[in-house]
Symmetry: C2
Subunit: 598 residues, 2 copies
């Protein structure tokens, strides 16, 4: 199906918006009136720009407060419409959106509304324009799609149809099934937006919290199904505005937007994408650093050994159990200091995983960095983290491991078994995008998001996981841009005995993050522990949590650059990530940093 | 009355919070449990720190999910409470907040709740502690203050009282009059918070949108009046949390908080402050700049003449009509580049105005910069702008004008009459604070706030004005930190004929900001103009607006550093600021900047 996006959904000048929409693969745009008014381009120039970019102008929007008003007022509205239809002629737009009136003078009279909309449609038809009438959820007298359709139907005018908007329909709790009773050719346009399920004033909800389909709580795909069954054959068009997108760069937002429509079409069976290939585990995490020493010290203390070295590049492989960490001291292209740059995901079908990612607009990375390297399927996640699809130790497939030469060193028996999860702080305007990416591109399941209080701001956090927990990624985001040496990425390492692991770490001179004593007094108030257990946790800075399934014990290293490590012990099927303890950990990190800085 | 603040209302470590509360003049604090847990200080050290800072620990909070549960569960809760009471003993806190239960196991049984709360109070009394039971607005079975009081009353325990919280009471729409039926000595604590009137889920509303009294839509003072008439004699304590305060610096937030309580007490007649002295006009605006040339060019083109020069400092006075602009090329203490640093406000009683500002915690600036200068009463606004209280041309009072020597130049007859308004972009977390400051300290009236769409983010804007419009300040704020060369301050100059003024500006080579042609096509669609009128506006970049009272015509100069000028013509009592046109102006500024930047 054709895809379209309203210019109001993207930030920047009209030119920037059009360029971003085109690059992301949209077929057309809705031109939002205010974007046109503020543009230095004439309507003809905008038309030309769209044509150059391969975009059709699918809708001009909106006209407001037109119908069901006293005759004198309506004449003024027709005068206004005449100007706008002339503008649309210059712009090359043949459909105009008319929103149901919110005007205090609007009269609750469907016959009058139908009559005046007919007269508007007469005028429109003279210019070859169609009028798409839409019920705003907060319209004064017309606020539901069936009411708007009833008026359109009774007007019976060939140039008058209806526009359906998933937000206005689903936010009202209307049953979208009735859409199938509308003849497809009378559905002149379809606007799509999702939104989180919030109990709030619908106008505020609409203006500030809309998101792309699949990122909120509405069944947008279900609604589109009804619209398609009604026979609609126009574009799927996104009209989404929220406070975050207004400040985010247009390019990534447009990609996120188009991805959401691809996923929606796949769900509806109207587009075929390469099937998802769910990763089964974490092959490695890759740190880039200008100075390998501090990282090597922490890894050594954690029981990692430098088991192999890249044949041609300054990259070391450190291993403990099945946990593998690459330390790359080569020219770090994108990042300064020490940070998490890449993740290797074990994949049943690396090439297939990359094909799906590419089809879903993920930037594909070069398969070979050097001619002698093993070919690797890799893409970039929205936050810039490189994702490698790996087939470690599967002789039938090329493996990244072949690029490495063993050093002969063996991991110590330190009890680290594997990477439990990776925690990735997202750029502050990319949280929903990251969730959709990991869900749709990688086939991971998104868990509920939780709020975490940092001493200097609120964080939102949400895990994406594979069914068996082989891959767990915790995404988090601050309420505004923040210092990433505090909100650092981290690598959590699974162990069967966190006490033993923490003790070994400390004995090896590893930088355990100390936890406040008051935290342990609170644990004592909340839980019964065996004799000495709490004293041990207190001594080692081990945190404790419990859920309906089991128990969780974990501790942290201090931060190196923009990354730190966690040792975790999950027992009895505990499903969480210790979010309950995150405020204490964050405060401890701030305190440690204050000590270091000052 | 004594004032207190909950540590959760401020950002940072517990130590930072306590310091900020003390410096802002609070008498005590509520210690929020999570702040204590995350602190490296022991309870004894916190107690000592508070004592050193002159703060009492008025409340420990909160204990949750205590009452109306099965016996076995309740015994666990008592065990938990025993730990907390011991902690409170170490901390020196004698009152604990118990919130009505939200636990799924909680039973709808007031008698059981009363009985268990009594047993909790027995235990508390042993440690010299009082239990203050509060109804959360979203409590499972107890969600109103009168219900909570009914349970406390029927328990009849001397160590059990109630805690009232203005948010929980007013957000439910409860009538606070019934508070007067509660014996004052049974009101153990009073927590105050305001909030904007939003139709949204009360838990989300509470967690993210609370603000200080006088900054929202609740009648907090009215509620406190009922509480005082009931005989309450404890502290007025603020418990406010929202997403902005969590990221803002604790120091300014604490000052803002304490100011809100001072204003509240004044409204209630329980504190006497120096009376407000409402300014009657704008004496001057002061620009600081490292390079006077570009500013002088614009001012000259606007019809300003350099009429006087400071006797001892590199400050020029430029004047046109009653509009005076100081251009200061001296060492600009706080700002880089060209910006608006100070505003002179005509005051009927400059010393009285400064006394009120000081009483309301505004930093007072030195009265004399140099021994030969006229004494000046001045304070700093929250955004750092210096406010001078002036008595221009009133021989009975010292005047800033006496420091200036006339150059002999006369203003051209360019038609600029006075400064119409000043537009000040606020640091992004200080919008509510700025509004309260201008309202309470200066006695200006705050208008409704409006949203303005900038191409790269949403702005919120709100004017504060004197009754006759002699002083008008438009405050605005972005949704996140932004580039202040785009969201610059501006000075709007009143003229009786904006067309003539704009034309003169252009002829004098002044940098008029060009407006897009599409804007004028839209004006033609919306309004009837006399022949040629619109063509003139189009030619000169004049924008047009109309409200119920009159008409507004305005145009802009390009930005110099972080400041630009507006020429405005108000006719027939127009009250606004052309907010309708702001998106077009902002887009034009972005476009002009792109041209300049290359």
């Amino acid at each position: 199906m054709r895809t379209s996006i309203a210019t109001v959904s993207l930030s920047g000048s009209l030119t920037e918006k059009l360029t971003a929409a085109s690059r992301a693969g949209f077929d057309g745009v809705e031109i939002f009136e205010n974007d046109l008014l503020a543009s230095p381009l004439t309507p003809e120039e905008i038309r030309e720009r769209c044509a150059d970019l391969g975009l059709t102008v699918d809708l001009y929007q909106p006209m407001r407060d037109i119908e069901a008003v006293p005759e004198e007022e309506f004449r003024r509205n027709l005068r206004r419409a005449r100007h706008k239809f002339e503008l649309m002629r210059r712009l090359g737009a043949d459909t105009v959106l008319v929103c149901s009136s919110v005007h205090p003078l609007a009269i609750d009279d469907d016959a009058l509304a139908a009559e005046q909309l007919s007269r508007l449609a007469d005028l429109a038809r003279e210019s070859g324009i169609r009028v798409a009438y839409e019920a705003l959820a907060w319209g004064r007298h017309v606020s539901t799609y069936d009411h708007a359709w009833h008026i359109v139907e009774s007007a019976g005018h060939p140039a008058l149809g209806t526009c359906l908007d998933s937000f206005h329909i689903l936010s009202r709790g209307s049953d979208p099934k009735g859409i199938e009773d509308i003849p497809g050719e009378k559905i002149f346009f379809l606007q799509l937006a999702d939104a989180p399920l919030l109990a709030m004033d619908v106008l505020q909800w609409s203006r500030h919290y809309r998101c792309f389909p699949g990122q909120g709580g509405f069944d947008v795909a279900g609604l589109v199904g009804h619209v398609l069954r009604a026979g609609y054959d126009g574009p799927l068009s996104l009209e989404v505005f929220n406070d975050v997108f207004r400040q985010a760069e247009a390019g990534p937002t447009a990609v996120d937007a188009h991805r959401s429509l691809l996923v929606l079409q796949e769900a509806l069976g109207v587009a075929e994408l390469p099937a998802p290939v769910v990763p089964t585990g974490v092959a490695f995490a890759e740190l880039v650093t200008p100075d390998a020493e501090p990282v090597a010290e922490v890894l050594g203390a954690l029981g990692f050994a430098r088991t192999a070295r890249h044949r041609s590049k300054p990259v070391d492989l450190w291993q403990a159990g099945e946990a593998r960490i690459l330390v790359n001291t080569g020219p770090a292209a994108r990042r300064d200091g020490t940070g998490l740059a890449a993740i290797g995901l074990e994949s049943p079908d690396p090439a297939g995983a990359a094909r799906r990612a590419e089809a879903l607009l993920a930037p594909v990375l070069p398969r070979r960095r050097a001619s002698e390297d093993a070919p690797l399927d890799a893409v970039a996640a929205p936050d810039g983290t490189e994702l490698f699809f790996c087939a470690t130790d599967r002789p039938e497939l090329p493996s990244w491991r072949a690029d490495f030469e063993d050093t002969g060193q063996e991991p110590q028996a330190a009890g680290v078994r594997r990477i439990d999860h990776l925690a990735l702080v997202q750029p502050w305007h990319q949280f929903d995008e990251a969730t959709l990416f990991h869900r749709a591109v990688l086939g991971l399941a998104a868990q509920e998001s939780v709020d975490v209080a940092d001493p200097y701001g609120l964080l939102r956090s949400r895990a994406v996981t594979s069914a068996d927990g082989g891959v767990r990624i915790a995404l988090s985001v601050g309420a505004a841009p923040a210092d990433d040496t505090v909100h650092a990425q981290h690598i959590a390492l699974a162990t069967d005995d966190v006490v033993a692991a923490a003790r070994r770490l400390r004995e090896a001179g590893g930088p355990l993050l100390p936890m406040p004593a008051n935290y342990y007094d609170d644990l004592a108030a909340r839980f019964d522990f065996a004799d000495g257990e709490l004293a041990t946790y207190r001594e080692l800075g081990i945190l404790y949590d419990r859920d309906a399934y089991g128990e969780f014990r974990h501790c942290y290293t201090r931060t190196v650059g923009r990354v730190f490590f966690e040792l975790v012990q999950r027992d009895g099927g505990y499903r969480g990530y210790g979010a309950q303890n995150a405020p204490v950990r964050l405060a401890a990190q701030h305190a440690a940093r204050r000590l270091t800085d000052g």
